[in-house]
Subunit: 179 residues, 2 copies
């Protein structure tokens, strides 16, 4: 990567990473994270991360979407990889943008499709937490907190977006107001 | 790109594109398309594409999300670039996966924030269509049809995902069934 240079390709309107030798443009695109709130009764499944960033902190099963899979397939794959859980998806819970990281998160509502879970290779520990047991101070990322609250407090069908504390873009709009 | 080779980097579990000279791994990630159904009364705003693919066919204002923007900012940017429309977003309408293209589409419900629109540089023509006027046979992509139907027929707060004709992943699950 260090040999790549930044310049505006012909016909484009912003700088891109280009290889000075072959002219290949390495477009940098936002990456998609897919994950799920896996609920059972009033408990949710959380994984303690075995890898950086935020090793030792708790997160929902989630990770980068791969090519040639759907968001749903990705969310199920991550639940298997991180928590050895077979899950069934019930709908989109939230779409978050982490603009400074170039990240879009698509988080699903899910439940266990089969009983049983255990730590996968990227987790130190996997367990269920009732709402009052959730280790709020030891969550890996703010968006884990957002998703937990969206699951608990959001209206059933509606999809959540960034909360007001981190909104940049779509704020709730009073009727008749401009963007 | 032609000089890149495919191999499995150390510690990974699938082939990636690598530069044989510098070892740079060009991760291929799904790309995010952001767009919107811009409604006014019972009409929607469509753009006739001035660029390939599908030049001459009709689409909603939509395009690739850029780095360092939110999905909402991207959707508003695309409405400006393609239709010179200032729009206000009202919520996520749909999240579609086009797995064979490695694409995730986040489509918003929107309305005009200011009056006025015209063809931007990537459009031949921009106009409003009542439902019965929509040029169904001249739509650029299947997902434009999906989004139009989700806007017209979907329950207000709920987010749409791929329709049954193109579902791979999250099908509606009868209670108690496995994934």
């Amino acid at each position: 990567m260090s040999r790549f240079i930044r310049r505006i390709p012909e016909g484009d309107d912003r700088e891109r990473l280009m290889c000075p030798d072959c002219g290949h443009v390495a477009y940098e695109n936002p990456k998609v994270v897919v994950g799920s709130i896996v609920a059972e009764g009033d408990t949710v499944l959380l994984c303690r991360r075995a890898i950086e960033p935020r090793r030792g902190f708790w997160t929902i099963p989630a990770g980068y979407m791969e090519m040639n899979e759907t968001t749903e397939e990705g969310a199920r794959r991550e639940a298997w990889e991180e928590a050895r859980a077979r899950i069934a998806l019930e709908g989109v819970l939230a779409v978050y943008s982490i603009a400074r990281l170039g990240q879009v998160q698509v988080i699903f509502r899910a439940r266990m499709a089969e009983p049983g879970f255990e730590a996968g290779p990227e987790s130190l520990e996997v367990r269920r937490f009732a709402w009052d047991e959730i280790p709020w101070d030891d969550l890996a990322f703010p968006s884990v907190r957002w998703a937990l609250h969206a699951w608990r407090d959001g209206p059933p069908g509606a999809v959540a977006t960034n909360p007001p504390e981190d909104a940049r873009g779509m704020r709730p709009l009073p009727a008749g107001s401009a963007a």
